[in-house]
Assembly symmetry: C2
Homo-oligomer: 404 residues x 2
């Protein structure tokens, strides 16, 4: 364990919002207040962008009452960024850090942000600038390697499960075919969460499609036709990142122009095009011969990541804790790392945190395990067991079918 390094700290937030990302920010602020090894805690406006532009706010000025409200507010309170620093950008980051005597950097984000933290940390070493860099995880995608799960996921999963639960009753009350498109570019964790909507055997979602299980048009249509013929209705959860056998995504295959961000990621959210395409495909291919099908599509959109007042309590408290632990690790003389969670053995759910190297989390994403997927259109009980404790209580519902 190294000695304590005196100086200031910067905290920043990056990437897509979550409903609990500010719990982690408040965790960092509380950790700094508790540990006492850091002089000033500067909040960088809009992530690395705020560092190079020296747009900082003094977080000591925020009252406890305000911080508790901020903690309950979705989306990065400091502002976020999609900037991915290259070497020249990093030079400017050090210049800003050096000028402000910043020796600790806490970066709250997903795998792209962990990669940014890794680059900054490595360049700091090369420049012999003593800097301790900690990644505080957040992503609704739940796709960080090494991490059992990530803050932000439980709340998004709760939203998706409840939304799908409501839509199951909607679809049951006015039967038809309904497609719901769920976020998740590469990983199907969020789409898979729709499985929790099922309470009774006939409940939807009847079909769940994740990016990890390549899906042909033929299989998709045959699945829908089979469920609709049997049940007179069909509720479908489809990830925005579903792909065809061969690897190209449905969205890419369909779109003439796919917008990409600075990380090279295709823009799949913020548009209803995939859902409308799937609905139209069903109408065209299964609605023939005078058969009039009622087919609708919804794209759950940004609500999945930033709906307020409906978070998972487990998720909220874990998000707070990983922020606090990042500061504690830094106080213990740790040099760098991503604050990860692991489940403790025993009959009930509990977690502990540990530090994993930034490089073990950066860039590449984790995928749904094959054991969580069945028949290319369903999610297994093993996944339900994995997910349930992260989501917590779901709304109580009932059906008149329960009358004996």
């Amino acid at each position: 364990m190294s000695s304590q390094l005196k100086g200031n700290a910067v905290v920043g937030q990056s990437g897509g919002p979550t409903a609990v990302i500010n719990q982690s920010l408040v965790g960092v602020i509380q950790g700094v207040a508790e540990c006492g090894h850091i002089d000033q805690l500067l909040g960088a406006r809009h992530g690395v962008r705020g560092i190079v532009d020296e747009k900082f706010i003094d977080l000591r000025k925020a009252s406890g009452e305000l911080l508790e409200r901020v903690a309950q507010t979705p989306a990065a309170a400091l502002g976020s960024t999609r900037d991915k620093p290259d070497a020249a950008y990093c030079e400017r980051i050090f210049k800003s850090f050096s000028k402000n005597n910043v020796r600790y950097f806490f970066y709250i984000g997903g795998n792209d942000s962990a990669d940014t933290a890794r680059i900054v940390s490595e360049l700091a070493k090369k420049e012999k600038y003593e800097l301790r860099v900690f990644h505080v995880p957040k992503t609704i995608d739940n796709d960080l390697r090494v991490h059992d799960h990530t803050p932000g996921y439980g709340s998004a999963a709760k939203f998706v499960a409840a939304a799908m639960m409501g839509d199951n009753f909607d679809n049951k009350s006015l039967p038809g075919i309904k497609v719901d498109v769920v976020m998740g570019r590469n990983a199907g964790f969020l789409t898979a969460a729709s499985v929790l909507a099922r309470q009774n055997p006939s409940d939807g979602p009847h079909l769940i499609y994740v990016p990890e299980a390549p899906l042909s048009e033929e299989k998709f249509l045959a699945d829908v036709d089979r469920v609709y013929t049997k049940q007179g209705r069909c509720l479908i959860a489809a990830s925005e990142g579903i792909s065809k056998p061969g690897g190209v995504t449905w969205a890419e295959a369909m779109a003439e122009h796919v917008e990409r961000d600075s990380h090279g990621n295709a823009q799949l959210s913020g548009t209803g095009a995939l859902g409308d395409f799937l609905a139209d495909l069903i109408k065209r291919k299964l609605g023939g011969g005078g058969k009039k099908l009622r087919v609708r599509a919804d794209t759950f959109g940004y609500l999945q990541r930033s709906f307020p007042g409906f978070v998972s309590q487990v998720d909220a408290s874990e998000a707070r804790r990983v922020g606090q632990m990042a500061v504690k690790y830094s106080a213990q003389g740790e040099m760098e790392g991503s604050v990860a969670m692991k489940r403790l053995p025993g009959g009930f759910y509990s977690i502990d945190t540990f530090l994993t190297p930034l490089s073990s989390v950066a860039k590449e994403t984790k995928h749904l395990d094959a054991s969580y997927i069945s028949d290319g259109n369903n999610i297994t009980e093993a996944f339900v067991q994995y997910l349930k404790p992260l989501v917590g209580e779901l709304p109580k519902v009932g059906s008149l079918d329960e009358i004996k």
Copy 2:
């Protein structure tokens, strides 16, 4: 007041789901249990369709515990229908009523359902079949004439306000232009509810477009450009029913084929096309000259009407109450009517119910009062005062901008 008529009762649900439509169903069931003038209470599966097909369930068999869960479950527990009975259909309704000695009919629905109730009631008179028909209001659109407001609206408004509140923070954290399409074919009440998302002066939605204020492409683009230039971001709430000067809706102007239901209503929900069209329009017209705009669209979709576990408590209890009152009015010998609410004078919000003729509510819809709309792109404080008590508590949020 007429004498009490002995016989059975049918309760049915119709039209689009709401989050509290089953509160009204349970209100009817409780009213029947309390009043004692009705022999059997039959639940018609899928509205008038279940009556003609004689698909009834005996609602006495449902336990109190189940009914409380059903009350909290979105979308018609009995099943809904879009069928609009003509004379021949009504003949079949009487046949079913007569066969089952049905003398009371409670129909839970919107203005189309009130019209169905009116037709059934009038044909019953013509046929000299003694039948007492009561309309129990529900619609997220809040567009029933005579009614101060309708059950279902407060909960949908709460969902829209919270969703927009979250999206405001999302948009602030990753600035850009965001279009959110809200339900409301003819009336802007639900879209107008997005005004409650504003807590601070810079908060969105910055522009609110309702069907009642015709909107040209030129005004729309000039509004967005002005807000974006000033604030560096722009959050827009647009009703799915926004129309051009002259009357044609944007969705109709845009769509090659518009699907219509049996009431002649165009299908505007269950597709992301309008949002995508508006986002694309902004990109094309304001993003020229190398200016790269980040424009996204979400369509809130069915979640607005069937998201569970996030209802307005006022709305839930009023929905229960109008169901109970329908039965009470029938016990008092009333012949027909729609159970409406009016606000009582005084410093705090409270309501009373009254019975208004079915014809006063049927078919035609109510629109947002002109005093609630300003500049063709905003909602007034008068509307905020009207709306607030119907929605109740919204999530507590906070911004670091509040640091002095």
